[in-house]
Amino acid sequence: MATFQLEFVSPEKLLLSRPVEMALLPAADGQMGVLPGHAPMIVALRGGVISVREGGVETESLFVPGGFAEITPTRVTVLADEATPVAQLSRNEAEQRITAAEKVLAELNAEGATPEKREAAMARVLAARAMLAAAQSA
């Protein structure tokens, strides 16, 4: 089967670069499956799990807390601050993140911050919840 190059890049280093058959991305407006030859796109990602298919089976699933993806017919580049294999996610850490993010959101709501700031905080809460969900399913 045809493949495309999947790249995971964090600001600190190139995490992964290898040919895969299909990738499932948590795009901001909904789950999105990418096959080789996809039309060029730039999408924002919300917190969620990226799963990778090779040889007809799901070989890897990685959690990202948001980021961007650049899609071209031959390549998908995911820019994310971190990417953790779902099996290595810790439930405790996810819960801590939810608490921390909710606290920030509550503070912002209390002081009547700008909608953009509150939206960003809300996105972090949702990303942390997605992390917990992923950790529980693993």
């Binding site: 600190e12 901001a28 953009e116």
Partner: protein, 294 residues
């Protein structure tokens, strides 16, 4: 003429100084290699981000409601300078160069009647500028206690800058840091952060123009999320380059110090031997003339 004992003491002290500078040079060389690797590893992200920004910037540019991070506030009365320097000394002219560069820039801007605010990253540059421009400081950030400066640290600095922009505390923001050209040469340089200098969309090296992208969600929304990230990436890169440059400069400085110490030891040893011989000759003359007098 110094006594033999004092000469011996000086030779020994210079020798131990040489040992220290030699060790520091080797440590700096090892750290330089690691800093360079980290700078290398950070490059793919920056490159891809630049590519996305180029295509997005072209799509959004010229719109009246374009994000502030991209177009700035429209004015240029208040200038925020982010000065990045090393946290430690003993690195030759590294910190002084960036400090002097910043000082000239501040004077130039104030000469034009602009208000200058300083955000100092790194301890040495901060102390350098504080004497003269202490009242312009808005914040001082130091990574001295950290072993490795990570992306989160840069993101924190970026968040501070974005926060200040939203509060309307400045109009234009520029980054002053030592650009890492190679191990022996780092040049102080200025890079504009806000309004963002969007790179031109370049034709792919493989040939043919850049593909036309679709965006999901809209261009504006992606750009709003991408710009703060880009700011952090720029700062992160400057910090990494400063780090690599610092160790490069330290290595060169310590190499020079080691060589100077060697020269000094040679000179002192020569002096010591001459003095010793002069003493022997003097004693011999005394003995002989004493024997002749009898």
């Amino acid at each position: 003429m110094p006594s033999l004992k004092s000469l011996r003491n000086r030779i020994n002290s210079v020798k131990s100084t040489r040992k220290i500078t030699q060790a520091m040079k080797m440590v700096a060389a090892a750290k330089l290699r690691r800093a360079q690797q980290r700078a290398e590893a950070a490059r793919p992200y920056a490159e891809r981000m630049e590519r996305m920004l180029a295509s997005l910037g072209a799509a959004v540019a010229g719109q009246p409601d374009a994000p502030r991070l991209l177009v700035g506030t429209g004015g240029d009365a208040v200038q925020l300078l982010v000065v990045i320097s090393g946290d430690r000394g003993l690195a030759g002219p590294f910190n002084t160069n960036i400090g002097r560069f910043a000082r000239n820039r501040i004077r130039e801007l104030e000469g034009q009647g602009k208000t200058v605010k300083i955000l100092a990253v790194g301890r040495k540059g901060a102390t350098f500028l504080k004497r003269e421009f202490g009242s312009r400081f808005v914040a001082e950030i130091s990574f001295a206690g950290k072993k490795n400066v990570g992306f989160e640290d840069a993101a924190e600095v970026a968040a501070k800058i974005t926060g200040m922009l939203e509060d309307g505390e400045f109009d234009v923001c520029a980054l002053l840091y030592n650009r890492f050209k190679n191990v022996i040469s780092q040049t102080p340089s200025e890079q504009q952060l806000i309004p963002a200098a969007v790179p031109e969309a370049e034709d792919d090296a493989a040939g043919g123009p850049q593909p036309q992208y679709e965006y999901e969600p809209t261009e504006e929304e992606i750009l709003a999320a991408l710009l703060p990230q880009n700011l952090a990436v720029q700062i992160y890169r400057a910090i990494l380059e400063t780090n690599a440059g610092f160790y490069g400069s330290q290595m060169t400085a310590m190499d020079n110090a080691t060589r100077n110490a060697g020269e000094m030891i040679n000179k002192l040893t020569l002096n010591y031997n001459r003095t010793r011989q002069a003493n022997i000759t003097k004693e011999l003359i005394e003995i002989i003339s004493g024997a002749e007098a009898v």
